[in-house]
C-alpha cells in the first residue's frame, strides 16, 4: 500500500508540474485524473462502509472457559459493486476462533457470501467481547484503508473451567485424610472414633470400631477433633490491564474449583473463605454445595481495593482456622502476615499449603524447615492438571 501511495504521490506531483507549464486536454486531464483518484477512492470506501454488513453468532452466550463453543459468521456483499478488500480482525487477547486466520482479506463481489462455521474458545473467565473486532476496508487501488470497529460485537459471559484432577499431587494428605474418614464413616456414617484414653466413659466406647481395629476406641465428641479443610482465596485484583489480571484470576479460580471438586469427589467437606474487606464463607460438603460454590465463583468480582495482608485477620475472625486439619490458600502475593499465619498454623500441627499463582511478590523468605508448610507455585499459563 505504501508503494502505491508513493507512486500516486509522484504522479500527482508530475501532474501539478504538467499544468504549471502546459495547458490542454492532456495535462489537465492527467491532473484531474490524479486528483479525482483519492476522491473517488474515499467515496468508494464510504460506500463500502455503509453497504457492508457482517453477521456473527455464537452457540450460547454462557460459555465455559477453554471449552469450544460453536461460532458462525458470514461475510456477504449485498450491494451492486465489488468490495475490493475487506479485512477482518478478531478479538484475540482473551479468545480465539479456530480455523480462521486473523487479518485475512477477502474480495467480495455482489452476491458473494463467505460463511464460516467454526468454534470459538474463550481463554479466561469474565464478560468480554468475542468474535469480529475490527473491519478494514481497502479501495481497489490499495491507496487508502479505513478501519472501523464492528458495531455488532458479541459479548460472552465466560464461566471458569473446572479442571478435573485425577490425582492431587501437591496435597496427598488430603486424599489420605479422605480415605480414613470414609472408612470410618462406612459403618458409622456420622461418627468418628479415637483411641481409648483412660478415663473415657464406657458408654462412649465405640465397640464396632474397637472390634475392627483390635483396640478400644472411644467415640469422638463434637468439637473434639480438628475440623477438615479450610480453603481460602485472595480476591484482590492485581493490575489494571485485562490481559494481565484476567489470566491470573482465571487461574486462581480454576485452582479453587479443581481442589473443591477433588474434595467433594472424595467426600471431604471443606470451608471456603474469600474476600478480605467483606469476608464471606461457605461450607461445601456435597455436590449441590459445590454447584453453589461454582455459581459464586462465576460471579465473583475481584477487587483492587482488597488487601492480602488483611487476610489473616479475616480468617482469624472466622474461628475455624485453629481447628482445621488442612489449610489451603490460593494467592498471588505472599505477604508477611499470611506467611506468619501459615507458619504459626504449621507449628501447631496444621498442614498449610499455599498455592501461589503467577509471579507475585514474596514478603519474606519462606521458612525452610517447616514440614507442614508447603508453597506451590503455579504459573498462569501452565497445565494445571499436571501441576496440581
Amino acid at each position: 500500500m505504501r508503494r502505491n501511495r508513493i507512486v500516486f504521490a509522484v504522479l500527482w506531483l508530475l501532474s501539478l508540474a504538467g499544468i504549471s507549464f502546459y495547458g490542454g486536454a492532456v495535462s489537465y486531464g492527467f491532473f484531474f485524473c490524479m486528483t479525482l483518484i483519492p476522491a473517488v477512492c474515499l467515496l468508494y470506501l464510504l460506500a463500502v462502509y455503509f453497504c457492508f454488513h457482517i453477521y456473527q453468532e455464537i452457540g450460547q452466550r454462557d460459555v465455559v472457559c477453554s471449552q469450544p463453543v460453536s461460532y458462525y459468521f458470514v461475510l456477504q456483499n449485498e450491494s451492486f459493486f465489488a468490495f475490493a478488500g475487506l479485512g477482518v480482525t478478531l478479538f484475540s487477547d482473551l479468545s480465539y476462533v479456530e480455523d480462521i486466520p486473523d487479518g485475512m482479506e477477502f474480495e467480495l463481489l455482489p452476491g458473494d457470501r463467505y460463511p464460516f462455521h467454526t468454534r470459538l474458545v474463550c481463554r479466561y473467565r469474565g464478560e468480554y467481547e468475542v468474535g469480529v473486532k475490527e473491519i478494514a476496508v481497502r479501495d481497489f487501488l490499495r491507496l487508502f484503508s479505513v478501519r472501523y470497529r464492528n458495531p455488532g460485537t458479541i459479548k460472552a459471559l465466560v464461566k471458569p473451567r473446572i479442571p478435573v484432577l485425577s490425582v492431587l499431587r501437591t496435597l496427598p494428605e488430603a486424599l489420605e485424610y479422605a480415605r480414613r474418614e470414609n472408612r470410618l464413616a462406612k459403618d458409622w456414617p456420622d461418627v468418628t472414633a479415637r483411641d481409648y484414653q483412660p478415663g473415657d466413659p464406657l458408654k462412649r466406647v465405640h465397640w464396632g470400631a474397637a472390634a475392627r481395629e483390635g483396640k478400644l476406641k472411644t467415640r469422638e465428641e463434637y468439637g473434639e477433633q480438628k475440623e477438615g479443610i479450610v480453603l481460602f482465596l485472595d480476591t484482590k485484583r492485581y493490575g489494571t490491564d485485562r490481559r494481565e489480571f484476567l489470566p491470573l484470576e482465571n487461574r486462581m479460580l480454576e485452582i479453587v474449583l479443581a481442589l473443591g471438586m477433588v474434595f467433594v469427589r472424595e467426600n471431604l467437606p471443606f470451608s471456603f473463605y474469600w474476600g478480605q474487606r467483606q469476608p464471606r464463607s461457605m461450607q461445601v460438603e456435597r455436590m449441590p454445595d459445590f454447584d453453589a460454590l461454582y455459581g459464586q465463583m462465576c460471579e465473583l468480582a475481584f477487587d483492587p481495593l482488597e488487601d492480602p495482608e488483611a487476610m489473616p485477620e479475616a480468617l482469624a475472625g472466622s474461628g475455624r482456622l485453629n481447628g482445621s486439619r488442612i489449610v489451603v490458600g490460593v494467592l498471588h502475593e505472599l505477604g508477611s502476615a499470611v506467611l506468619e499465619l501459615a507458619d504459626r498454623l504449621a507449628r501447631e500441627g496444621t498442614l498449610v499449603v499455599l498455592y501461589l499463582t503467577g509471579a507475585g511478590k514474596r514478603g519474606r523468605p519462606v521458612p525452610q524447615n517447616e514440614p507442614l508448610l508447603r508453597i506451590v507455585e503455579i504459573p498462569t499459563e501452565a497445565d494445571l492438571e499436571e501441576l496440581l
Binding site: I19, Y28, G29, F32, L36, V40, L141
Partner: protein, 838 residues
C-alpha cells in the same frame, strides 16, 4: 436477478467494455489521424454497432459463430449487390482515399469515416481479445497510450478532451486490475468479473473526469501564489515580532516621522539596517528615496487626501525627460539614467521606496496612490524590485538655468541649441536591452524619433519660436508617454496619452497648489527673503537658502497648543523658535512655496549617501523629509532646506559646460551629525561617467553562489529531516517492540524472518502447509528447518503459548538470514537492514 444475469454474461460485458473503451480512445483520441473529423454521429454509431456485433458473435459457440459470420457475410454480399456500381465505386474511391488521404468524391466523406470507424472497431475487438487473454499486453497498451499522451503534450499535438480522458481512464482501470493481481487476498472470482463489478465506480470516475475543464493555458497559480504570499508574510510578521518587536512601518516611525506625517516631539537615535540597494554602476548622486507624499497640512500634521491611481511618477519622469531632451543642449548634463535593485531586510512596509523621476519598476507589482508607490499589502523580508530612474543634476548651475528657461507654464524658451551636431550625445544608455532609450539625445528634426534609436545626424539644433519648441517637447512627451506606459506595471499599465498628462497636471495644481494664509510677520519675513527674486526658481532657491541657515535640532520640543493651522505653524517656526529638524524645514518650505502660487508637497523617505557607491545599506537613521516643488512644464523638483543637508542633496556631476560647485553660501547653522555626504572626487568623476556609460553587469558569481548555497542548505535540511524521520521511526519501532508481550514479539520477529526468506526466494505457497514450507526452507538453505516456524505452528494450531526460547530462536534465525543475504550482495543486505530497522 440482475446479479445472476451479470454473473452469467460477465465475460461478454467485460469484453464489450474493453473494446468500446479502445474504440472510444481511437475515435476521440486519434480520430483526426485516421481521417475522422467529427467522431460523434455516424462514425461513432457505426463503430459501436460493429463492436457490439463482433463481440456478440465472438461470444457465441463455435457453430453459432460460424453461422453468424456466414450470415454477416451474406448480408454484406447482398448489400454490395444492391449497391451495384455505386458500391464498387465507393470502395474503389475509399481505397484511393486511404492511400492519398484525399477524398475522390467529397460527398462520400462521411462514408469513408464510417468505414474507418468500422475498421477501427474490428481492430479494437481483436485487441480487446488479445489483452483479455494476456494481461501484459494490456499493460503494454496502457503504457503506449501514456507515451502517446506524453508525445502529444510535449509535441503540442492536438488531442481531444474525450480521447485523453478515455486513455487515462484505461490506464486507471488497468492499474486496478494489476493491483488486484498482486493483492494477496481471498479471491474466487475471475478478474473480468471483478472488473465488471467495479464498473459502477469506474463509470462515476469517468463521468467526473469528463466534467472537468481543460483550459488551453497553463495554470498561473495566482490564487496559490497569493495564498502563499499571505502565509509567508504572516509567518515573517510573527517571526519578526518575536525577534524585533511589532509595529507596522516602524522603520519610518522610529525617527519621529510618523506614518501619518505628524510633527512634534523629539527624534530618537537608532540605526538599524532596513534594506539594501545595489546598483549596476556607481551612483552619481546621493539617493533620495521617496516613500510617502502629503498634500494637506493642518498645522500639526500632514495628511494625504489625494489617492489618484494614475502613474504620476511615470508621468512626472516623462515630463522632465521630455523637457530636458527638448530644451537642453547636452541632456546628459542634467539627467543620467541608472538602474538599481532594492531588497528588503527585516523591514515591513506597504511603501515602495523609489526616487524622483522613476521610469521603470520591475520584478514586483505595485499600485499608484496619488504619486506614491505602494504594494497591495505589507511586504517584508525578501521583497525585492529593480528601479530605473533618472538622476537629476541638482546643484549644477546649468540645471537652474534650464529650469529658468523652461519653468513657465507650458514650457518657455528653451536653451539655445548650437547649430552643429557635435553636441549630440547619447547619455545614460542602457546596454544589453533592445528597449534602451537614449536620454539626452538631440533630435535631428522637429519630429521626435521613437525611443531606443540613436540619432546620428542630430546637428541642426532646435531653433525657432517658442511654439515650435513647445510642439517639439509635446511630441517628445507623447513618444515617451507611450513608451513609459508600456513599461509601467502599476495599477494602470498601458499606454499613456497626453490627456493623461493634462489630467495629471490639473490634479497637481488642485491638490498641491492650495494657497496659505500668512500672518503679517511671516509675510514680512518672506518679503525680505524673496527680495529680488522674480522667477519661481529664484523664489524657491531663496526660500531654500533662507531656511537652511536656521538652526537644526533633533529636540525642538512639542508644538504649542496654539499651533492649529499652517499660518500659526509658520509663525511659531519662523518667528519664534527658528529651530527644528527636517520635517519642520520641509513643511515650512512647502507652505511658503504654496503661498507664492507654486505647487509643492511634503515628502518622507530615506536620504541615502549612495554617491560613488554601488551597494548601500539603508538604515533607520537615514529617514528624512524634504520638499518638492512643481514647475510647470518640467515637473517636480526636489529642494533641501534642512540645515546641514546641502552637501548631501547637491552633489552635482561635472557638466560639459559649467563648473560643478554651486554658488550658495555656506550655512550658518551648526551641522548635526549626519551620514557622510562625500564630496565627489574629481579623479573618480570621470570614471563614474565612463562606468555610467557601461551596460548592466550582473554579478553572476554572486547569483550562482546564492543558488548553490540555497541548494546546499536545502539538501542539508532535507537530509537532516530524513535522518530525523529515520531515527524517529526506529525509536517508535523499538518502543513498540519493547512494550509487546512475548507472543507479539515472537510474531513480529517471525514476520521479519518470513520476509527475509522471501528475499531469498522462499515464499510459502497457497496450498503449502507450514511443515512443508519449513522442510523446504531447510532443504533449500541446506540447514536445519527453521525452528521458529515450528513454534509458530504450535502457537497457531496447538494453541500453545510461545516459550521463551522461541523468540531467541527467531532472532537467531533472523541474523542467519541476514548474513546469507549479505553474501548475495552488500546493497541488498543494507537495504534489508534498513527496512528491518535494526
Amino acid at each position: 436477478m440482475t446479479a445472476e444475469w451479470i454473473r452469467k454474461r460477465y465475460k461478454f460485458i467485460y469484453l464489450l467494455f474493453q473494446e468500446l473503451l479502445l474504440l472510444g480512445i481511437c475515435l476521440f483520441g486519434l480520430g483526426y489521424r485516421i481521417g475522422i473529423g467529427a467522431p460523434l454521429g455516424f462514425p461513432l454509431a457505426a463503430g459501436v454497432l460493429s463492436v457490439f456485433l463482433l463481440t456478440w458473435i465472438l461470444d457465441l459457440r463455435p457453430r453459432e459463430r460460424l453461422f453468424a459470420f456466414l450470415a454477416l457475410a451474406g448480408c454484406m454480399f447482398l448489400a454490395a449487390l444492391a449497391a451495384g456500381e455505386a458500391g464498387t465505386a465507393f470502395f474503389a474511391s475509399y481505397r484511393i482515399w486511404l492511400m492519398d488521404g484525399e477524398a475522390w468524391n467529397p460527398e462520400w466523406q462521411s462514408g469513408y469515416e464510417v468505414m474507418q470507424a468500422v475498421l477501427a472497431a474490428v481492430l479494437c475487438c481483436l485487441f480487446g481479445r488479445l489483452t483479455d487473454r494476456f494481461f501484459p499486453v494490456r499493460a503494454v497498451l496502457a503504457g503506449v497510450l501514456a507515451a502517446l499522451l506524453a508525445v502529444s503534450l510535449f509535441g503540442g499535438l492536438q488531442t481531444g478532451h474525450a480521447g485523453a480522458v478515455l486513455a487515462l481512464w484505461y490506464g486507471v482501470m488497468t492499474a486496478a486490475e494489476y493491483v488486484r493481481l498482486r493483492w494477496e487476498k481471498r479471491k474466487e472470482a475471475d478478474a473480468a468479473l471483478y472488473t465488471v463489478w467495479l464498473l459502477p465506480v469506474g463509470l462515476l470516475f469517468l463521468v467526473l473526469m469528463l466534467m472537468m475543464p481543460t483550459p488551453q493555458e497553463a495554470y498561473d497559480w495566482a490564487f496559490v501564489k497569493a495564498a502563499y504570499g499571505r502565509i509567508r508574510e504572516s509567518v515573517i510578521t510573527h517571526a519578526h515580532s518575536l525577534v524585533r518587536g511589532g509595529g507596522e512601518d516602524f522603520g519610518v516611525s522610529f525617527q519621529g516621522l510618523s506614518e501619518d506625517g505628524g510633527l512634534g516631539g523629539d527624534l530618537r537615535e537608532e540605526s538599524r539596517e532596513l534594506f539594501r540597494i545595489e546598483s549596476d554602476s556607481l551612483f552619481r548622486t546621493n539617493l533620495y528615496l521617496a516613500g510617502a507624499s502629503y498634500d494637506r497640512f493642518d498645522g500639526r500634521k500632514w495628511e494625504k487626501t489625494c489617492h489618484e491611481e494614475e502613474p504620476w511618477r511615470v508621468l512626472d519622469a516623462a515630463e522632465t525627460v521630455s523637457a530636458v531632451q527638448a530644451w537642453a543642449q547636452t541632456p546628459s548634463d542634467h539627467l543620467w539614467y541608472t538602474q538599481f535593485g532594492v531588497s528588503y531586510g527585516w523591514f515591513r512596509t506597504g511603501y515602495l521606496f523609489a526616487p524622483l523621476k522613476t521610469r521603470t519598476i520591475q520584478d514586483t507589482e505595485y499600485e499608484n496612490d496619488g504619486g506614491d508607490l505602494r504594494f497591495g499589502m505589507q511586504r517584508g523580508y525578501g521583497t525585492s524590485y529593480r528601479i530605473g530612474y533618472y538622476q537629476i543634476n541638482t546643484g549644477a548651475p546649468d540645471f537652474y538655468e534650464l529650469l529658468e528657461s523652461g519653468s513657465a507654464a507650458g514650457g518657455s524658451e528653451p536653451e539655445e541649441a548650437e547649430a552643429s551636431g557635435a553636441g549630440s550625445e547619447a547619455a545614460g544608455q542602457e546596454t544589453g536591452s533592445a528597449e534602451t532609450e537614449a536620454v539626452g539625445q538631440k533630435t535631428g528634426s522637429a519630429e521626435s524619433e521613437t525611443a531606443g534609436q540613436e540619432m546620428g545626424s542630430a546637428g541642426q539644433g532646435i531653433a525657432g519660436s517658442e511654439d515650435a519648441m513647445r510642439s517639439a517637447k509635446q511630441e517628445e512627451l507623447e513618444t515617451l508617454l507611450a513608451d513609459y506606459g508600456a513599461q509601467n506595471r502599476g495599477t494602470q499599465a498601458g499606454e499613456l496619452t497626453p490627456e493623461d498628462m493634462e489630467r495629471y497636471r490639473e490634479n497637481v495644481r488642485a491638490n498641491y497648489g492650495e494657497g496659505v494664509r500668512l500672518s503679517p510677520g511671516v509675510k514680512s519675513w518672506l518679503d525680505q527673503v524673496l527680495d529680488g527674486a522674480e522667477t519661481d526658481v529664484e523664489k524657491l532657491r531663496a526660500l531654500e537658502y533662507a531656511l537652511s541657515v536656521l538652526e537644526y535640532t533633533q529636540t525642538p520640543g512639542a508644538l504649542p497648543e496654539r499651533v492649529k493651522d499652517a499660518g500659526s505653524f509658520l509663525d511659531h517656526f519662523l518667528l519664534e523658535t527658528g529651530r527644528g529638524y527636517c520635517s519642520y524645514f520641509a513643511t515650512a518650505f512647502v507652505l511658503l512655496a504654496r503661498s507664492q502660487g507654486i505647487p509643492a508637497r511634503y515628502v518622507e523617505g530615506f536620504c541615502v549617501p549612495a554617491r560613488q557607491k554601488r551597494s548601500v545599506a539603508v538604515t533607520s537613521d537615514m529617514t528624512h523629509a524634504w520638499p518638492e516643488a512643481w514647475l510647470e512644464g518640467f515637473g517636480w523638483i526636489p529642494f533641501e532646506p534642512t540645515p546641514g543637508f546641502r552637501d548631501v542633496r547637491y552633489t552635482p556631476w561635472k557638466t560639459s559646460g559649467g563648473a560643478r560647485a554651486d554658488d550658495f553660501a555656506a550655512p550658518k547653522a551648526t551641522l548635526p551629525a549626519r551620514p557622510d555626504g562625500q564630496d565627489a572626487d574629481p579623479d573618480t568623476e570621470g570614471e563614474a561617467a565612463d562606468e555610467g556609460a557601461d551596460g548592466v553587469q550582473m554579478d553572476r558569481r554572486a547569483v550562482w553562489g546564492r543558488i548553490f548555497r540555497t541548494a546546499g542548505a536545502g539538501l542539508a535540511v532535507l537530509l537532516g529531516c530524513l535522518l530525523a524521520a529515520l531515527w524517529a521511526d526506529r525509536a517508535v519501532r523499538s518502543r513498540r517492540f519493547a512494550r509487546m508481550g512475548l507472543t507479539e514479539r515472537f510474531l513480529y520477529v517471525l514476520r521479519q524472518d518470513l520476509w527475509l526468506l522471501s528475499l531469498l526466494g522462499l515464499v510459502r505457497g497457497e496450498t503449502e502447509t507450514l511443515q512443508e514450507f519449513r522442510e523446504r526452507c531447510g532443504k533449500t538453505l541446506e540447514t536445519e528447518s527453521p525452528a521458529s516456524l515450528a513454534f509458530y505452528e504450535e502457537l497457531r494450531y496447538g494453541d500453545k503459548a510461545v516459550p521463551d526460547p522461541a523468540l531467541e530462536e527467531a532472532l537467531r534465525e533472523r541474523e542467519e538470514l541476514l548474513s546469507r543475504i549479505r553474501d548475495g550482495g552488500r546493497l541488498r543486505y543494507w537495504l534489508a537492514r534498513f527496512r528491518l530497522g535494526g
